[in-house]
């Protein structure tokens, strides 16, 4: 029995092994394959050929890649900002509700359960220029005289996809922020109150400052998901009009499924992965600093 004794660190390694092996199989191996594919000309018609960095060079010179990268940055920044601006106040209000808080928290989670692709369709009907409910309401209220072509105008379409995307992300961010808010000791608020601090002071210096961790974690998840999302855009605008909502994910989708250029799709996926890691790195830096 004595021989079976192992150190804690060794035991930890042993119990982690199955998970590690699965991770290698399901993440490591596909990633290796993806990296390999990204160095090939792989278009299903011609024989597969190793082309080195040509796919990457092609992408960095490609007008559509540059356009999609710009749209992605606008979309991910917009979606993260809208999610942040709505979820933090929502969490603040929820943390102060005395009655029915559980019910409201449950209700607020509903949009999170809606698949993004469905969210796109829902908002597509709402924004429709001909029979959309938003135009109907605005016309009935006399705010507009003619229907607004939301999905047909470049600057409005990008806002529309940001709204459709944020709508499903706000609940998650709200609950995460709320968890941060409710974990703050009440004694801090009481002490601040005794010292004469008003609600703005306590919100800024206690609630928000002490919840930086959960907020940053929520923003990290929201940012990464928004950066690589295509679902809502696919069902709402398909990247249009005039590629105004054409993000990198859509370009990747087109390379795989429409143009059947798997080598380019692989290179684009790797670029997106690196960009996601960069974004995550910034958040992790601030989280660790916390």
């Amino acid at each position: 029995m004595k021989n079976l004794q192992i150190k804690n660190s060794q035991f930890g390694l042993i119990v982690s092994l199955p998970g590690l092996i699965l991770l290698l199989l399901w993440v490591g191996l596909p990633l290796m394959l993806l990296i390999f594919v990204s160095f090939t000309r792989y278009d299903v018609i011609n024989p597969v050929k190793f082309v080195g960095l040509q796919n990457y060079i092609y992408l960095f010179k490609d007008r559509i890649f540059k356009l999609a990268l710009t749209r992605t940055l606008i979309f991910f920044a917009g979606s993260t900002l809208v999610t942040f601006l709505f979820s933090v106040p929502a969490a603040w209000f929820l943390s102060r509700i005395r009655y029915g808080g559980t019910l409201i928290r449950t209700l607020i989670m509903f949009p999170w359960a809606v698949p993004l692709i469905v969210s796109g369709f829902i908002w597509g009907w709402i924004f429709n220029a001909s029979y959309g409910v938003l135009n109907h309401i605005l016309t009935t209220l006399g705010i507009i005289k003619e229907n607004i072509n939301i999905l047909g105008k470049s600057y409005l379409a990008i806002i529309a996809v940001i709204i459709a995307d944020s709508w499903t992300r706000i609940p998650f961010m709200t609950i995460l922020t709320l968890a941060g808010f409710t974990s703050i000791s009440k004694s801090l608020y009481e002490a601040a109150s005794i010292d004469g601090a008003d609600i703005f002071y306590t919100t800024w210096h206690i609630t928000l400052k002490l919840s930086k961790g959960p907020i940053l974690t929520g923003l990290l998840i929201t940012s990464i998901f928004s950066f690589r999302t295509i679902d809502a855009i696919f069902s709402l605008t398909k990247g249009g009009p005039a590629k105004a909502t054409y993000v990198l994910g859509m370009l990747d989708l087109d390379y795989i499924y429409s143009y059947l250029r798997f080598g380019l799709a692989g290179a684009l996926s790797i670029i997106m992965l690196v960009l996601c890691m960069l974004i995550a790195g910034i958040y992790v830096f601030f989280l660790l600093k916390e």
């Binding site: 299903v44 018609i45 007008r63 429709n128 220029a129 001909s130 029979y131 135009n135 005289k145 003619e146 229907n147 072509n149 999905l151 047909g152 105008k153 470049s154 379409a157 696919f234 069902s235 605008t237 398909k238 249009g240 009009p241 005039a242 590629k243 989708l253 087109d254 795989i256 499924y257 429409s258 143009y259 059947l260």
Partner: protein
């Protein structure tokens, strides 16, 4: 000793079973579908296909022995495909093989199909390709489709040459058949034309523009802002069908002698300008930039547009009061059965460019969903799927498509059957459209070219670029793909 004996017997039996099974498999693989089915018996393939009732080929039962069902991807919901449902029923009764299907939305059908092919998945035996003219060449080129052996030289001659050519690979074999196909007709609202004081139903694109402008102006003044002269799709590939209609109506073509698509020919420039200016001049709404093939026809079905160049399939849909209630009222909202008792709508063949053009130029593009059999399916299921594919291009199946669903017939002989003709709505303009319709075979890479055109069309419509500048820039990028 006893244990060793039992073990040896089990081992021997396993080896024999494996060898026998392997031999059978090898036999099927060696002889293949062609070897086991005689497509020209009991009658020739052409006779079997073009009779009033389809006849199964000799040997079909032995080849498909043990196949209980086949599975395929249907484009969209089956409730919208009553003719397909009927044809499945007939095929099941004929063969005893159940046809199972997944209803896959047209937006993601090609993606799902590619997934099946790339993963060499043999469990999906057949697939529909929604944008047949373009997607088919990619699938054939990739070697994913099974050649269809019933396409004998005699059969090829009996079906439209342009379509057969679009389904033929570089090796001369035909790899597909038509799932559904539709051409285009000009739809209009008689009561709207009358109210807007438009005396003549337009027969040229120039007349369409004038009439649509007049109808749109009248409606916006008398009915409200969300009424349009004409609607069309500019979000997806069907935009190109509109451009093509303009090109063909002048006698032009997109595909040049070297097989490369060129959109900025003289005819192409005029057609491009035409559709861009319809929006810029307020005759069509800018919302077209967000509309697919389904959206703009839905707008017409809701009674919001005076004209549209719509699928022939929409003849049946428009006649259905439940599906298109607004078309069974006049433009003022009063019940209106129309001259033919089908509602306040009518169709004419696609317009020609101007009055100087011959009537043969009243042509549009023919759009079809192709049906392919998965090369990676096992031989028996492949054979069953091939039988299903063959049945679906028979006169019997095509008559169902024409009568029940309003799709066009891949087999032209179906139109000549008086019984079938008597059951079709608006047979004259449909026959004319079917006769003049143009089928061009687009090379692999066209899907990307279309994306470029759709983007530049939107940039022209929104005023970011001038119409011709947008077209020329689009063509420059398209040239980079093909040259």
């Amino acid at each position: 000793m006893k244990k060793i004996l039992i073990l040896s017997i089990v081992l021997l039996l396993s080896v024999v079973t494996t060898a026998v099974a392997g031999g059978q498999k090898e036999k099927i693989e060696k002889e293949g579908v062609l070897g086991l089915i005689n497509w020209d018996a009991p009658k020739t393939a052409l006779e079997r296909l073009t009779g009033d009732e389809y006849i199964l080929p000799e040997g079909w039962d032995k080849t498909t022995e043990g196949v209980e069902k086949i599975f395929y991807f249907n484009s969209g919901a089956m409730r919208h495909d009553p003719a397909t449902a009927k044809n499945i029923e007939v095929f099941e009764n004929l063969t005893g093989i159940k046809v199972d299907y997944a209803e896959v939305g047209s937006d993601i059908l090609f993606q799902k199909t590619i997934n099946v092919f790339v993963s060499r998945d043999g469990s999906v035996h057949g697939m529909s390709l929604t944008d047949g003219p373009n997607e088919l060449k990619e699938v054939i080129g990739a070697g994913w489709a099974e050649p269809m052996p019933f396409w004998t030289p005699e059969v090829r001659k009996a079906y439209p040459a342009g379509l057969v050519s679009a389904m033929t690979g570089a090796d001369g074999k035909v790899y597909a058949t038509v799932d559904t196909m539709r051409s285009y007709l000009l739809f209009y609202r008689p009561s709207w034309l009358k109210a807007a004081d438009i005396e003549k139903v337009p027969t040229t694109w120039q007349e369409v523009r004038e009439a649509a402008k007049k109808a749109g102006d009248w409606a916006r003044k008398n009915l409200g802002p969300d009424y349009y002269g004409i609607v069309f799709p500019a979000k997806a590939y069907n935009l190109l069908h509109m451009i093509q209609a303009g090109v063909y109506s002048q006698g032009g073509r997109i595909i040049q002698a070297d097989g490369i698509p060129v959109y900025n020919t003289e005819e192409g420039k005029k057609s491009w300008d035409y559709w861009v200016n319809l929006v810029k001049d307020g005759i069509a709404p800018e919302a077209v930039l967000g509309w697919t093939w389904n959206d703009y026809q839905e707008v017409f079905a809701r009674g919001k547009s005076a004209f549209m160049l719509g699928f022939t399939t929409y003849v049946n849909r428009s006649a259905d009061q439940e599906l298109s209630p607004a078309l069974h009222k006049d433009v003022f909202g009063n019940p209106d059965k129309g001259a033919k008792g089908l509602g306040d709508w009518a169709v004419v063949a696609p317009p020609k460019w101007n009055a100087n053009m011959p009537d043969d130029y009243r042509a549009a593009f023919i759009d079809f969903d192709a049906f392919v059999v998965n090369k990676f399916a096992d031989e028996k299921h492949k054979a069953a799927a091939l039988l299903f594919a063959e049945f679906r291009m028979s006169k019997q199946a095509m008559a169902n498509e024409l009568i029940i669903e309003g799709n066009e017939s891949f087999y032209p002989g179906a139109y000549e059957d008086p019984d079938v003709a008597s059951k079709i709505l608006y047979p004259e303009p449909r026959a004319q459209s079917a006769r003049t319709t143009v089928m061009e075979a687009f090379p692999p890479g066209t899907v990307r070219a279309m994306d470029i055109l759709i983007e530049y069309f939107a940039r022209a419509v929104t005023g970011e670029l001038s119409s011709q500048e947008a077209l020329n820039k689009a063509q420059e990028e398209i040239d980079m793909i093909f040259k």
